[in-house]
């Protein structure tokens, strides 16, 4: 019984230490990461760097829409 309570206290101390330690370290890591990103990979407001996908450049899209257009025109005439 007493043994259990003491392991409860031990768990409480170690547990909170780890949670605190882990999240405090995360605070530092975020700080470092944010300044690194902001210095070396600054972002224009409104830009979405992740969204540019290759193969989907305006040329292709123009081509697709032109092709679809042509195809449709054909379809209508039939």
């Amino acid at each position: 019984m007493n043994e259990m309570l003491s392991s409860g206290i031990e768990l409480m101390l170690i547990g909170m230490a780890i949670v605190y330690g882990f999240l405090a370290m995360l605070v530092l890591a975020i700080g470092a990461m944010s300044s690194f990103v902001q210095r070396y990979f600054p972002e224009m407001p409104g830009s979405h760097p992740a969204l540019t996908q290759h193969g989907e450049d305006p040329g292709t899209i123009a081509a697709i829409s032109a092709a679809v257009h042509q195809y449709r025109k054909k379809y209508q005439k039939n």
Partner: protein
Amino acid sequence: MENLRLLWESTGLYNFTGPQAIMMAVGFVLLYLAIKKGFEPLLLLPIGFGAILSNIPVAGMIDEGGILYYLYGGIKAGVFPLLIFMGVGAMTDFGPMLANPKTLLLGAAAQFGIFATLFGALALNVIPGMDFTLKQAAAIAIIGGADGPTAIYVASKLAPELLGAIAVAAYSYMALVPLIQPPIMRALTTEDERKIEMQQLRTVGNTEKIVFPLMLVILTALLLPSAAPLVGMFCLGNLMNASGVVDRLSKTAQNELINIVTIFLGLSVGSKLSAEAFLTMETLGILGLGAVAFAIGTASGVIMAKVMNRFSSTPINPLIGAAGVSAVPMAARVANKVGLESNPHNFLLMHAMGPNVAGVIGSAVAAGVLLSLIR
């Protein structure tokens, strides 16, 4: 005649036991709370209905061959809570937390609710009728994390026999956050503190939002791998959303997939609301400890915020400390609301979202600690 007797002996009336009837009543209470009181209806409605279905005699829906038996497999394998956590990750915006990373400490402080409850559960063993093992105490304590999927995941690993009571307590108290927290918040803060206006948060760029979940999963892998399933699936969902390149996956994770799993999870949790497991002194202990856990977590968060406010260069309103318990976004809304009572022009919502999502990380980390230390 033979058939008539057979039929009578196959009725529920013939086979009902008292405990089953009581558990069905518990199911109805949960449905009432979900439907009429709006208590976390997404979970408590299927849980309540599952409680009713699993306590119907003869039907055997929780026995091998019954639908609830098979659905429970998804909890036993840990798959359901982790998929829900992935969906929640996809819904989460870490922006406010990244803009003000100090708020992570509030999310850490509020987890004291978990560990204090763990001690409390062990101390309760002095009461006759209570006899919690260390594993059970830990599973109960995680209620203080105020995070449903985390509580279910931990309980399914450490004390599946208490899963029903723990899930019900966790979701009920999460629904009660608007009632439990405000008095504690008011008691621990002065009017002046509650009036504190905080500086506007900087805009966080996409790159930071993409890098953060990756950084978090790495640190978890290095330091606390037992938290990796929870934190990892959460980060996967978050990355799917933040990266912007897999929008169709992110949307499915946030909608259809999480909805399907929620129905299944709720029913399976309900299937653990059997009389033998639920109608015990231990359940009363769980309900009591859960309330204590929430209260302690709230208080720890507020006190931590008060301390930080004293040492911080920029002002911190202690009310946002209460949001550290997680219970996203309810706790952040409560902080906002209590703040508005003192200062009608003080919108704390965005500031409280930081500790709020930090609380989710905090309780997943605490879950990892429990899972790795308790065997």
